[in-house]
Symmetry: C2
Subunit: 406 residues, 2 copies
């Protein structure tokens, strides 16, 4: 008898009909002799509607109250799912995040899970119940409700799977799995059967948007295999696990992109120690995340410092950097907000020459100019013009022969 | 500095605009130097909508799950009210029934409060916060959510007021208070400035429907004055308290009525011990509440047994009584479903002759026939034809001069 943790996203439980359909899927898993714990998101647009209500009563709603408010969305869907399962003749019980022992810090709206006290869940499983847990929420030591922020329900699922020692954590959503590239851009894109945690992390942070990185990191840390699949079909989905990365496959798995990129260059910076630190510490204090950083080789003690930020942060970043640039006697600050990022992802790339060259030549053949390049062990990223990103995804998908199944 | 408990019903917090208006009322109470605890119902039709959802996913929703589902309605309104108060510059915090220490038995959908552990509420008051508590809900020893059934939020309010030793429990709703008679029937009806707990209990169970009897009983038991008033006006409302009953005022306070009355008569019953017991025990086992019971004086060892039940229970009551009537050799069972009940209510009536006579003559002057009469210390009730009830309310309101303010 295996213990399986499943999570169903908001689009999978958007109305009563879908909730009943999800209940039948869960029942089928239980009927094959497994113990089942289910994490569920709020129905469809519930969370957005609750946020809208909050902003109708207060200009800046208290985050403490907002978390309690939003937590009701998942409680509603969890009780409905438990009712649906019981009416199919299965023992089932809904638990709030608090009842399921999801203990977090008190950082409202983006709480981190500190530990999972899963006695109640284990007790209900022993009674033969299917346990439905409200996702996205937890409770502090002071018994106050928190929410986990983006990717919250995925994180609840993987954390519970880790705490219970589940065989697998299955995340059901409205996509068929992790694709070789965004299927909206690349008609030939296909779902991967499997992918390593680290490749998935690169994909997730570079725009695949199937699964939040924190859930993947938790899965990697506790070695929980994560299946991403659709609740609307019977396609097998993508299994994210550790086995893949261990054998270095030397292969590009997928193409990721991100349109939310702006570039800022401080021109004519004196090449002295401490100057870069002054700039990036000030940006960090202002809560601005810096992504790629490139410093050109210094010519006669003068260099250019280039970095990228999210487009929405560009104005604020300029406001932070300009006074520093002036004070150190830099020539000027220039920015470009019309950029995008394109990446090829796969294990073992850094040990195998040729990938970068193949990427660059595929892009240059199409006249796509590369502005910046960064690499990691399993990723090569080029910053290019925003207008060229979609074409670049298709070009690289073809160049690395991702249409053809492994 | 007084401690005031306020409760706002669902119609008082039906949308964002009303929630902001209620927040201003609460703020005004706080601003005069009081500590304030607020109990809030679910917004408008929320509870009905949640029940509808439940019946869409399950034919007979689990009561355990239904209670958790319904409890979210009051949590939503409590958080929104706390947000609105904070944005007015007042310290405020929302607490669920569980967080407020409302401990109940495990009778889902109609739980009774066992005790209130109000440490958290007291602690938040000490910090200067206005405490907003989600009404209608509690938690069992096993940490499962329950709801309190009809009149739940009123009961939460009075129970918290008792536990905290509040000066007064103010229940705000969409009516101006307790009237001398139903204002829809009697144009001259007016709100009472005050009324005794017991008079209010008679009124509540006899159809005033302003306030559930359980809340009144709790108020009487713990000597908590209860103000019933409108959140939509500044009218003073009705104060329900003990002082009124103590001085016997010998006065009719109000007229109550009830249209949900059916009469069942077992004709020709042998007047032997045990026969009435057999009939009423069987009705109780079937969950049928019996109201008025009248047994005529026995003639030659044969009597008639008449009692009233709710109209909706008449068919089932007949099914229970008929076999017993046959087995004891009664002549027949007859019923009348077209009846109503009309009552005059006031303290000290039983000690003062003349009230009953005045009531009967006022009714007979209008040709209204009285079928049954019952009395208590503070009430005289006549069962009359359903068609005559509205007229009777107006006749008695005039006969006892209730149009004229005290």
């Amino acid at each position: 008898m295996a213990l399986i943790v499943q999570k169903y996203g908001g689009s999978s439980v958007a109305d009563a009909k879908q909730i009943k359909s999800v209940a039948r899927r869960i029942a089928a898993t239980k009927a094959t002799g497994n113990q089942v714990v289910v994490i569920v998101s709020a129905m469809g647009d519930t969370t957005d509607e609750l946020i809208r209500l909050a902003y109708q009563v207060a200009k800046e709603p208290s985050t403490r109250e907002l978390d309690v408010l939003l937590s009701t969305g998942e409680i509603v869907s969890s009780t409905l799912l438990a009712m649906a399962l019981k009416s199919l003749g299965y023992g089932a019980i809904s638990l709030s995040g608090a009842q399921a022992g999801i203990q977090t810090d008190a950082a409202y709206s983006r709480a981190r899970i500190l530990k999972v006290e899963s006695e109640r869940v284990v007790g209900e499983l022993k009674k033969g119940n299917i346990v439905i847990v409200a996702g996205f929420q937890g409770i502090t030591e002071e018994m106050d409700i928190t929410t986990l922020g983006r990717g919250g329900s995925d994180t609840t699922a993987v954390a519970l799977a880790a705490s219970l020692g589940a065989e697998v954590c299955q995340l059901y959503t409205d996509v068929d799995g992790v694709y070789t590239a965004d299927p909206h851009l690349v008609p030939g894109a296909r779902p991967l059967a499997e992918i390593g945690y680290e490749e998935m992390l690169e994909l997730a942070s570079y725009g695949a948007r199937v699964l939040h990185p924190r859930a993947v990191e938790l899965g990697e840390l506790y070695k929980i295999p994560i299946l991403v699949a659709s609740s609307f079909s019977d396609s097998p989905g993508t299994l994210i696990h550790g086995g893949v990365s261990m054998e270095v496959r030397n292969r590009v798995t997928s193409i990721a992109y991100d349109l939310n990129v702006a570039k800022l260059t401080v021109v004519g910076v004196p090449d002295r120690p401490g100057i870069a630190a002054a700039i990036f510490e000030s940006l960090a204090s202002a809560g601005i995340s810096v992504d790629t950083i490139v410093q050109n080789a210094s010519i006669e003690g003068i260099t250019d410092l280039t970095f990228t930020v999210a487009k929405s942060d560009l104005r604020r970043a300029m406001g932070v950097v300009k006074p520093i640039a002036d004070s150190i006697g830099a020539r000027q600050c220039v920015s470009d907000a019309k950029l995008g990022k394109i990446s090829i992802i796969g294990t073992g790339m850094q040990n195998t020459p040729g990938y970068a060259a193949r990427m660059f030549s595929a892009l240059s053949e199409k006249g796509i100019n590369i502005q910046l390049i960064t690499t990691s062990e399993i990723r090569i990223t080029c910053i290019i013009s925003e207008a060229k990103v979609e074409e670049a995804v298709r070009v690289l998908h073809r160049a690395f022969e991702l249409e053809i199944a492994e």
